[in-house]
Amino acid sequence: MRYGRTWLPALVASLGLLLASTATQAGELRGTGDLGVVIEREAGSLVIVEHSNRTTLARVEDLGDFSHASVKFSRDARYAFVFGRDGGLSRIDLLTGTLENRVVQAGNSVGGAISQDGSLVAVSNYEPGGVHVFRADDLGEVARIPAEFGDDGELSRVVGLVDAPGQKFVFSLFEAGEIWVADFSDGDEPDIRRFEDVGKQPYDALITPDGRYYIAGLFGEDGLVLLDLWDLDAGPQRIMDGYGRGEEPLPVFKMPHLEGWAAADGKLFLPAVGRHELLVVDPDGWQEVARIPTHGQPIFAVARPDGRQVWVNFAYPDNDVVQVVDVADLEVAHEIEPGPGVLHMEFTPRGEQVWLSVRDEDRVEVYDPDSMERITSLEAITPSGIFMTWRAHRTGL
């Protein structure tokens, strides 16, 4: 008894026909500043979109398992590097709409980062636990960093991989409870600095937009761990310890992403774990300044580029709702129901549009965040992550 998505091939075929006609018009000159990609989770494909006229330009298929996928952009914002769950690393040309290179570099991977100078792409892996580094231009292998820990060389799964100034990659070891800084400024042999005993089970991390602070969330205990990259000798510091202590946490049906952190009005907005709240942190002293009650377990908290709003989506079974926090008074000001399975939100560079993926209805919705009105809707097959090229020029993204 299996309910296959029998309509899926038909949809792919009809969209494919539609897209083929636009993709063949390559050759006209155009920029990439208004481009983006939308991951098609179940189909293992992605669509290339543009946000000036809000249209779909091309589809790229056969990219592997996108149960979990993320995207980084080359420094010229022409190429997208796509990291799939199956260890696949794909390099896609946004202008021609074609897959340029693809390597399956591990058995099970979770994310990636591109170096400050744009020459290196790093991938964080669960299996085998570690980080693999490739040349951005041809995906040739540069380095393997096994995440060995303990006395018998066990490998830890790696999470929270980000780029940092000074040609560094910073990442966390889930089982080991460590943070490593790999410095590639002297060439392809990284200088690695290890920080042990940072806390139990770091599960994701962020780097502040200036590239100074690396902050990892801890699954195994209440609190966060902070590394000041301006002063590595100070080592990791625990912040916001004891958050929620004594309270019975709620079940977490999906792990929040810290990568989708929001910085607005001089504060950081982070999803709480096991609580239907958004945490507001003042980076001056790293104190919690507020908790904003939300509709469900927050997954992503995304700031509008001007910092006035933070958009929040939620874990199952509340993933049909999106709430908008007004940063001026730290309260939920709007709530919308775009449809079942809202997995991701992405603003255009100056924030006049926000794009939402509605997985279970095969749509990407575009909203005006001032009027809260829907502007348009684009077809995509089980869309998840939406990534626009402005990320090419942001540390940590």
Partner: protein, 109 residues
């Protein structure tokens, strides 16, 4: 036979009877079965992979579950695994639905 074993076999018999009755009575209708399959692929798939071949969570393929008993798997679904990211689903799923999922996993996607 000790009392506890007798008790266990009694409850085992009751559970078996309920299971058989559940299947024959078709307590999980087609609509709900569709929803459960969607839940398994999309929500469980976030950690266990869309093909259930593993991710943050372990693989849930028939081979991977071969040595695990039905009761234990049902307990994991309903009560989660403390100290890991596996949450308890008992607030969202009934016992019958958890059993349906175990049967479904045994068959494979």
């Amino acid at each position: 036979m000790s009392d506890s074993i007798r008790l266990a076999s009694f409850f085992g018999g009751v559970a078996l009877a309920i299971t058989v009755a559940g299947v024959s009575a078709g307590e999980i209708d087609e609509q709900r079965a569709r929803e459960l399959q969607h839940l398994l692929v999309q929500e469980c798939g976030s950690c266990h992979g869309l093909q259930l071949t593993g991710g943050l969570g372990p693989p849930l393929t028939p081979d991977a579950l071969e040595d695990r008993g039905d009761t234990g798997l049902k307990a994991v679904i309903l009560h989660g695994v403390p100290g890991t990211a596996m949450p308890p689903w008992k607030g969202l799923l009934t016992e019958e639905e958890a059993e349906w999922l175990v049967d479904f996993l045994r068959e494979g996607l």
